[in-house]
Symmetry: C2
Subunit: 279 residues, 2 copies
């Protein structure tokens, strides 16, 4: 059997390409359609109302590409609005929060778990709620790190100021004696070296991109939806804006040369929920 349709993955910008990279590693046979909302990035500083509207437009666009599954590779969307949004769709819609939560609970021994992310992600308390839903005894401490995204995009991955800023953000978490830290933002894996050094090598770092790829594979296998075609497939990357240096920054996140990029006007694709077969 199987299902040869592509997997749709979206994010507010280039960050979600870290999830695509992990899917390529784990399931090289699958075809990917990616959408990055680079014209309206970032989502992390915006209100729930606006994030919900943008996320719905992003999902509808992917549905118009006949995908078999939608992955919100955006922590802001996954933590703020995904639980509400997935109700309406008749295909699997996954986020990046659940996989990180699951893995953190498996790995933590002292049940003291830290979370770092954008303001939107942290203030939504989605991670905290999901962790406590699954284990009432877990102690959660979280911290927004707004400067990590511009540092990652600037490419200052090992600079002295990067260590100092990490020290400011992470030392309160270290003092709380966490043994597990969830990287609650797709940009943060680029700073993993600095983060590990500052928080301490005895703390397990949960990379949500890796964990999400594992869950995607599990879900596809559970439903018999893996791609079975022997034909080579073309991955397609859509963005709402192609700014200067986009290919360079995008390739850094994807871990390989980014090609097949097209621009779409996400505000006026004119795709309605009905046309996408929404319930």
């Amino acid at each position: 059997m199987g299902d040869n349709r592509p997997i749709g993955i979206f994010d507010s910008g280039v960050g979600g390409l870290t999830v695509v990279r992990e899917v390529f590693k784990l399931m090289p046979e699958e075809q990917i359609i990616y959408f990055g909302d680079t014209a309206r990035v970032p989502y992390g500083t915006k209100s729930e109302r606006v994030v919900e509207k943008f996320a719905l437009q992003d999902i509808l666009f992917l549905l118009s590409k006949n995908v078999k599954m939608v992955v919100a590779a955006c922590h802001t969307v996954s933590s703020m609005v995904l639980d509400r949004l997935i109700q309406g769709f008749h295909l699997p819609v996954l986020g990046v929060v659940e996989p990180g939560v699951k893995s953190a609970l498996e790995r933590s021994k002292n049940k003291r778990i830290g979370i770092i992310g954008t303001k939107g992600t942290i203030e939504s308390k989605a991670y905290e709620r999901k962790l406590k839903d699954k284990d009432r005894d877990v102690y959660v401490v979280s911290c927004p790190c707004p400067l990590f995204v511009p540092l990652a995009e600037e490419g200052w991955l090992e600079q002295s100021v990067t260590y100092q800023i990490a020290e400011i953000y992470l030392s309160p978490l270290r003092e709380e004696k966490i043994d597990t830290l969830i990287l609650g933002c797709t940009h943060y894996p680029l700073l993993k070296g600095v983060i590990k050094k500052v928080i301490g090598y005895d703390v397990s770092i949960i990379d949500s991109a890796e964990e999400t790829a594992k869950i995607i594979r599990k879900r596809l296998m559970a439903f018999g939806m893996e791609r079975k075609s022997e034909e080579a497939c073309d991955h397609k990357f859509f963005v709402s804006d192609i700014p200067h240096q986009f290919q360079e920054i995008g390739s850094r996140f994807l871990g390989m040369k980014l090609k097949n990029i097209s621009r779409v006007d996400i505000e006026s694709t004119g795709i309605t929920p009905m046309e996408c077969g929404l319930r």
Copy 2:
């Protein structure tokens, strides 16, 4: 005579409130209608095509509020697309680039001028072009400072890392022996203390917000368009999103409590160029 209609001021977000603050100081009798595109902020990392589309929507929205003048209090808009956009309107449209250029040329003695701003502003080379148009002999050196905006929004105005980051960005400008530095981004006045200390007190700092307010007054007086009404007026602030802590951050930029805020859906105001009396 005079003209009692309000002045329209827009920016990609809260930064333009530094211009509003200067207008309040210089022309307390004028009424302001402000629009901040907080749902799509920032513009500085986006392409010319997208910035032009957003700026046109912002201007049309202000025109629908019956303003007598439009001020683009956004360096990205002013430097990337304003020269093209202002052609079509039958009312004065001002930007924040010209006023800074004018003032820098008046103040510089050695004709070595520095400019700092977002990537979009610096890569557009608009400042450089305008400075050289007015004085062929001027030597211009510029540098994008992407971390200054998140530092200002984080409120890290005097931290040790802020000094170090300023040192990384500004030391090449200092070595070029500039005697004048244009702050080419509405957020940067908040970091003026750090910038002055790092670049040296002998360098004149050009605050575009202050210079823009002066030009607005000059233009209103030249056309006899000052507000003459004795009635008190209500300023109005429109934004495309009201995220968490918006009032707090906005008030920091405005220098007083921000009130009378309304949310508008800028993507679907449905205002056409025709309805706004565009030529």
